[in-house]
């Protein structure tokens, strides 16, 4: 049996092989890999200021929220609300807050008016205690023999930290977002989270734990009776 091969087929095969060989040669010679990905970064740090602080934190609340789902009503009728705004009708304070939230989400690339699968889990560390412990002075202490009465300043939130995630500790999908948009989101969530932890009684908890600590410390240092006034 004779196999007939056309001349054009032979030429085509030779051309393809030549092209492949030439491509391989140039890719090697000029380091033209098929896929390349390069990352680089540089930074500089400058110490801008030094602050003296005298907080005594007695409690820490680790508060996790999911943005945007934790910050709006799931049954919200966005269509009607936005239509009302576009008609120029006056909005209530709550409606204005909701439309501002809608705008923030749209601006930061998390649209709320269709199926949204983008989210970010925000871990906040909120510490509470006495904000200026150095302000406790002689007038705040009454000592009679082995009894002491201390007038404690009101407790408050001493620190509010949004945890800096990294690829090693953040196990959810990453969010495409530049630093400016991320700042806008944290500016929005901070006061909201603060309201929630205050409602959950963080200050009462801080007060109780602070009194426990001071009471045992003062008993240890020789006072038989310790009393706190606010």
């Amino acid at each position: 049996m004779k196999i007939k091969i056309k001349l054009t087929t032979i030429i085509a095969v030779i051309l393809i092989l030549t092209a492949v060989a030439a491509a391989a040669f140039y890719l090697q010679k000029f380091d033209l890999r098929i896929f390349t990905k390069e990352k680089s970064s540089s930074s500089e740090i400058i110490l801008t200021h030094i602050n003296e602080i005298y907080n005594l934190s007695s409690v820490e609340y680790v508060y996790k929220t999911v943005f945007p789902f934790d910050f709006y009503n799931k049954d919200m009728d966005w269509y009607s609300l936005l239509k009302k705004r576009s008609r120029g009708e006056p909005l209530t304070e709550e409606e204005q807050k909701q439309t501002d939230f809608y705008d923030l989400c749209r601006e930061t690339g998390i649209p709320l008016d269709r199926s949204n699968y983008r989210f970010v889990v925000i871990t906040s560390l909120i510490k509470a205690g006495v904000p200026s412990v150095n302000l406790i002075g002689k007038d705040d202490l009454m000592i009679e023999g082995s009894s002491i009465t201390i007038k404690l300043p009101p407790t408050g939130i001493t620190e509010f930290i949004i945890e800096d995630n990294s690829s090693n500790d953040y196990h959810y999908p990453d969010l495409p977002m530049d630093p400016l948009h991320w700042k806008k989101i944290t500016d929005f969530v901070k006061p909201e989270i603060k309201k929630r932890v205050l409602k959950a009684g963080i200050l009462k908890e801080a007060e109780a734990r602070l009194e426990d600590f001071l009471s045992s410390l003062l008993h240890e240092s020789g006072f038989e009776s310790v009393e706190f006034i606010r």
Partner: protein, 180 residues
């Protein structure tokens, strides 16, 4: 007719699959409250200016170019973690305080201070972990710089100054500090 039914079937299948995807529920993420006894007495604020870029090529042809330049304040707080042990002993008219050594309590990026100079996103978006990974890598350097500039000594001096002032309210003659 069969030719048209097949694509319609696949479209319906795809849509029904998408319906099953639900966003993460907040209830699975728990919050916790814990006891703490921290006295931060000094903070160093560093301004970090970070430049980041990423390029991707296919056969030498660029198909992705991401660039970002921004600044953020990195707050470094130092002080005392008293939950590691605090002892106060009164000896006649003076007091001896035994406490842990001062330490760096945290290095944290202050999001409120973010200032973005420019961003270029061509063929891909900058993601949040892109720049947070870079910031986290630099925290150790900031920590070392703060220690070199004496943040721990400053924290100790501030604490001793504050306690000595408080001790005068108790009419105490002297306060001695011992660090372990």
């Amino acid at each position: 007719m069969k030719k048209f039914l097949l694509p319609v079937f696949f479209i319906l299948l795809t849509l029904s699959c998408r319906e099953r995807i639900r966003p993460v529920s907040a209830t699975v993420i728990e919050n916790q409250i814990r006891s703490l006894l921290e006295i931060p007495t000094v903070e160093y604020v560093y301004r970090e200016i970070l430049y980041f870029d990423e390029e991707a090529r296919f056969l030498g042809i660029k198909h992705m170019d991401k660039r970002l330049l921004f600044s953020v304040d990195m707050v470094t707080r130092a002080g005392f973690d008293l939950s590691k042990g605090l002892e106060v002993r009164r000896i006649f008219n003076s007091v001896k305080i035994t406490l842990p050594k001062p330490e760096i309590l945290e290095v944290d990026a202050d999001e409120e201070s973010i200032h973005q100079f420019f961003v270029k996103e061509w063929g891909g978006k900058i993601s949040r972990l892109d720049y947070y990974d870079e910031l986290n890598l630099r925290k150790e350097g900031i920590r070392k710089d703060a220690v070199k500039r004496g943040i721990l000594d400053k924290a100790r001096k501030n604490f001793e100054g504050m306690v000595s002032k408080l001790a005068t309210s108790f009419d105490l003659e002297s306060v001695n500090f011992e660090y372990r």
